[in-house]
């Protein structure tokens, strides 16, 4: 009769959320995994192959290779954020989030489960984009530890951001505004297609205020061995944002903002 709460029961709860998320992502793979790969293929064809041939080199390396880390980061960020907003807000909108809210699972397990689901999708898409990039520019890896750690940490940061967005969202429009009007411009201006050193003085300083610039450059270091910013500063920025967003997400979930009346 009845169950009691323990670390083991929490572990089962976490695995259940993750299995449910992974099943959802794989069930609707034409919506979750394929579109970003097609979009990135077009980027490689247009910016890398057609325009890139005229650009030549950037930062001392071939332009096609230069844009690969940025495009992988772009797909990781948008898929991590998009997965958690659509999944968590969908559960809230359909009221099946109540299945979790009435369960014994504490907020941090619910958050970890959803973030892990977003991480799965972000890294799956990132891997597929990396395979596509390999077709155009060959495979290269300067430092695998930096590459993987930056990708994982960045995906976690944006999953946390997406989670907060989903908590406050009242309608589907509310989860589309930030990716369209904030994330995409910040990612494009975060040095995906150019080296920040090419910007004129004031704009270079403005660009350095963009946290995504540090993530893109840290990944570029991991894959190509070049960066416009300090790697230590990049890790610091990611950990800082992760800690703040994680703290806010947990606080909101515990308080029941947007979930409990």
């Amino acid at each position: 009769m009845s169950v009691d709460v323990s670390a083991h029961s929490y572990w089962i709860g976490y695995k259940t959320i993750l299995i449910k998320e992974v099943t959802r992502i794989l069930r609707i793979w034409p919506q979750t995994l394929i579109p970003p790969v097609i979009t990135m293929t077009l980027y490689f064809v247009i910016f890398g192959s057609i325009i890139g041939r005229r650009v030549g080199e950037m930062g001392g390396i071939d332009y096609m290779e230069f844009i690969v880390p940025g495009l992988i980061m772009l797909s990781v960020i948008t898929n991590s954020y998009g997965n958690i907003t659509s999944s968590f807000f969908g559960a809230k909108f359909g009221k099946h989030i109540e299945e979790l809210l009435i369960s014994p699972l504490p907020p941090w397990i619910i958050l970890t489960g959803y973030v892990s689901g977003a991480l799965f999708r972000a890294l799956s898409v990132g891997f597929l984009v990396w395979l596509v990039a390999g077709f155009f520019s060959g495979f290269f890896m300067h430092n695998a530890v930096v590459t993987i750690s930056i990708l994982v940490m960045t995906a976690v940061v944006f999953a946390l951001g997406g989670f907060i967005n989903a908590i406050y969202a009242q309608k589907f429009d509310d989860i589309a505004i930030i990716p369209t009007f904030v994330l995409q411009p910040m990612t494009y201006l975060g040095g995906v297609f150019f080296s920040v050193g090419l910007l004129p003085g004031l704009w270079e300083q403005v660009a350095l205020g963009n946290p995504i610039l540090y993530m893109v450059n840290a990944l570029r270091y991991g894959m190509l061995g070049i960066t416009d910013v300090s790697l230590g500063l990049a890790y610091f920025m990611i950990v800082l944002f992760g800690t703040i967003l994680g703290g806010v997400a947990l606080y909101l979930l515990k308080r029941g903002t947007g979930l409990r009346t």
């Binding site: 009769m1 009845s2 169950v3 009691d4 709460v5 323990s6 083991h8 029961s9 929490y10 089962i12 709860g13 695995k15 259940t16 959320i17 299995i19 449910k20 099943t23 559960a91 359909g94 009221k95 099946h96 109540e98 299945e99 979790l100 809210l101 009435i102 369960s103 014994p104 699972l105 504490p106 029941g256 409990r260 009346t261």
Partner: protein, 307 residues
């Protein structure tokens, strides 16, 4: 030990609506308990607080002695909830919905699968277990939510209008299933609009109105308070003059149907004797409303004509 104890529970929503005004309630372990009240009385808010979906403004709810406010996780592990509205992912299969819910309560996946099969079979849903749940009928969806609430085998099962909109055959099979669960030791709290359901199933009852408990007793004791019962009499022939019986209020519903309100102190024999003397032949008789329903309407002051 009480399965549920509620002390001075208050809930004031942000729009200043006072849903609960210091509710006190106890439900004994093993009880089959009815929580009745008109729409907007505070039933769902009370259930929401007990199941942690609603934050209380003040006061405390304890489930088997565990505070919902202070030890939410431990308290929630004791409860299974069947909500009023469908709240599962309709894109998922019934089997997965039940198994996943077990996982949220720490039931190992293999065991959750076995239990899901058991409860889905028990609730006649096994043949639908692997199809899309959005294609289930209303009654099937409600039964699925009962299976989902039972997968972790809770000590307290709360059902918020589980049979609303369900046809009589399915309703009776659900009653049988819930009664079996109760007989096996699970405490059951039921809210319902079908007072016949509460009268047939429940041992104890609380009536909530305007955010406060106005009656909390056994169903038997409550029915004992029914001082006047109203019967509908179908006559063989239409009558022109309304019969008069001392101490019994008779009104005409139509030319060949009467309503007789009879105090408990008066005998039905007397009514029939007078009717026979006046040449009025009764061919059938029934309660105007279920007995509990009649009492309920008087307690909460619902106008019977409007109801």
């Amino acid at each position: 030990m009480n399965a549920l104890e509620v002390r001075d529970l208050r809930k004031v929503y942000r729009n200043d609506v006072v849903a609960l005004r210091g509710v006190n309630l106890e439900v004994a372990e093993g009880d089959f308990f009815a929580l009745l009240g008109p729409n907007g009385a505070g039933k769902s808010t009370l259930i929401g607080i007990v199941s942690s979906l609603v934050n209380a403004t003040s006061g405390e709810a304890r489930v088997f002695g565990i505070s919902v406010q202070k030890e939410r996780s431990r308290a929630m592990a004791q409860i299974g909830l069947v909500p009023q509205e469908v709240n599962f992912n309709q894109f998922e299969k019934p089997f997965d919905i039940v198994v996943n819910q077990g996982g949220y309560y720490g039931v190992p996946r293999r065991q959750a699968r076995e239990r899901a099969e058991y409860y889905l079979k028990k609730l006649s849903l096994w043949d639908k277990a692997f199809g899309p749940s959005r294609q289930l009928s209303g009654g099937m969806k409600r039964r699925l939510m009962i299976a989902r609430a039972m997968v972790h085998e809770p000590k307290l099962l709360i059902l918020d209008e589980p049979t609303a909109g369900v046809d009589i055959e399915i309703r009776r099979s659900m009653w049988k299933f819930i009664s079996e669960i109760n007989e096996a030791g699970t405490t059951v709290i039921l809210t319902t609009h079908y007072l016949e359901e509460a009268e047939n199933l429940c041992r104890n009852v609380a009536i909530i109105d305007h955010g406060g408990i106005i009656e909390n007793t056994s169903v038997k004791a409550l029915l004992g308070k029914l001082q006047v019962e109203t019967f509908v009499l179908d006559l063989r022939e239409p009558i022109e003059t309304l019969p008069e019986v001392d101490g019994i209020e008779i009104v005409r519903r139509d030319a060949s149907t009467l309503e007789a309100s009879i105090p408990k102190s008066r005998s039905l024999n007397r009514l029939f004797r007078v009717l026979e003397e006046q040449g009025v032949e009764v061919i059938s008789m029934r309660n105007k409303a279920n007995r509990l329903e009649e009492l309920f309407m008087r307690l909460v002051g619902i106008d019977e004509e409007a109801a």
